[in-house]
Symmetry: C2
Subunit: 316 residues, 2 copies
Amino acid sequence: MAYYIGIDIGGTNIACGIVDDDFNIVARAKVKTNAPRPYAEILEDIKKSVRLACEELGISPSDASSIGIGCPGTCNTDGVVEYSNNLGFINVPLRTDIETEFGVKTYLDNDANAAAFGEFVAGAAKGANNAIAITLGTGVGSGIIINGKLYSGSNCAGGEIGHTVIVVDGRPCTCGRKGCFEAYSSATGLGKMTAEAAQLHPDSLLAKQIEEDGKCGARTAYLAMKKGCAVGKEVTESYVKYLACGIANVINTFQPDILCIGGGVCNEGDTLMVPLKKAVAEQIYTKNSKKNTEIAVCSLGNDAGIIGAAMLYRSI
Amino acid sequence: MAYYIGIDIGGTNIACGIVDDDFNIVARAKVKTNAPRPYAEILEDIKKSVRLACEELGISPSDASSIGIGCPGTCNTDGVVEYSNNLGFINVPLRTDIETEFGVKTYLDNDANAAAFGEFVAGAAKGANNAIAITLGTGVGSGIIINGKLYSGSNCAGGEIGHTVIVVDGRPCTCGRKGCFEAYSSATGLGKMTAEAAQLHPDSLLAKQIEEDGKCGARTAYLAMKKGCAVGKEVTESYVKYLACGIANVINTFQPDILCIGGGVCNEGDTLMVPLKKAVAEQIYTKNSKKNTEIAVCSLGNDAGIIGAAMLYRSI
């Protein structure tokens, strides 16, 4: 049995897992990221996470067939993290540093790309040739797989599908543009639309739900809708409209075998997916084609990042 | 010297050219398409165009190294035109029919893809690894080149960048969606915006320009602007805004080496390109990157289709 080490570096935790040939995570370790702090310190903790996971399994890091790292920010083909806003990294040679430490061939890619690759190798997009994975979280992350390999453009910064405008002059986005897909379809965007609707309808069940919960998030409108709230229903319908628009844009561009979406809002299951698939089907250019993109929910959850990182050697 | 036959099938003409190793078209022939009419008849005229071009050069079709065909519609990897609205083709085995006739290895792709590939091999996108070509004509056509090969998705119908929505609930598009990039950025879209502005401002120089010309097209607003018309200027600014939005979307997604645009409106030169490049630069996600997408004007004009078709063997 061969082992592949996958490291998923997040703003909060460095998660390391050892993945076997069947894509099972057979050992894990977690170390706090405590970002931002100097690269040298974070690097030591990344190494530590690898040693801890290997100890758990009773192997040495050098027994691994490869190491893969998913890191937030722009990761170039030389294995350098050019820039990571979350971690405060600027031009750090992360791949080489890990490869030198353990003497094991090491691969590096962006964390969203690694997670998408995880879904492609072992999750919802398994068996596809071309696939897109979109994560609806604080932002809208995405990874593009073309002919079985991750695609991130000529400067390794592509795949920012969240930052494509779907409403010219629309809602302001963190990237500086107005009307980005992310501003509408992220969990954050849904929360904002929900809060605005509650403010407009202070007597609605939706407004009461927010009061009850003491917060307004991506689940709020769905909770209110399930209690019969018309305002909540309107918000969820509006959310699906924007999400379907962005997804239809991606399909008209890439026509992948599979497009999978992940993130907390996908826990709504059919309540989200049935109207979403219907709205997308009405909008795609290939309505009448025999073969169309399958839309699915990501299946690996948080493990996608570790599994995808561990499998990065397959994307070269 | 090797020769490559390229066939560009349009709604009006079947244009055949013989291309040499330096990408020069060394012989040409043109036959009327007269679409729609039965496939068998059009096929005979496609063959005729090949024979005529070869006669001009004094070679036999079987002397050619390969034949390539660019055809409107969905062309699959089996060399079948699954559907061409313009030509009335449904599931016709065009590649095999031409290959059998001349005994020369034949390739088939969509006409917009072939033209994009022409720009990639011999035109504005020469030397790129990843490139996008966008044609601003009656519609907005596009071709995607990834790692030196045409990409058209899992069902050969991808690359419909013109049918990505940039204005939710915006202008109706021929595809059935509302607010497509094509509805704003095509020559047709520009003409419509111009006509609307003239109607709102019947005393403007723009309105007079339309009266003078007896028509309203993609050039009208630029002509009026150059004469000092504020309304015409506003239309061109609005056009650039939408065009820049769509182009920035494409760059944030693909981060290609080069994105080249073609079509009559590009004849405006710097009047179009200077404000366009500025607006795109302000919107892309990689404003601060060392390497960003070059935006250029397509350089092969109508020959892109023939040259790209002739070179299709390189995309396999």
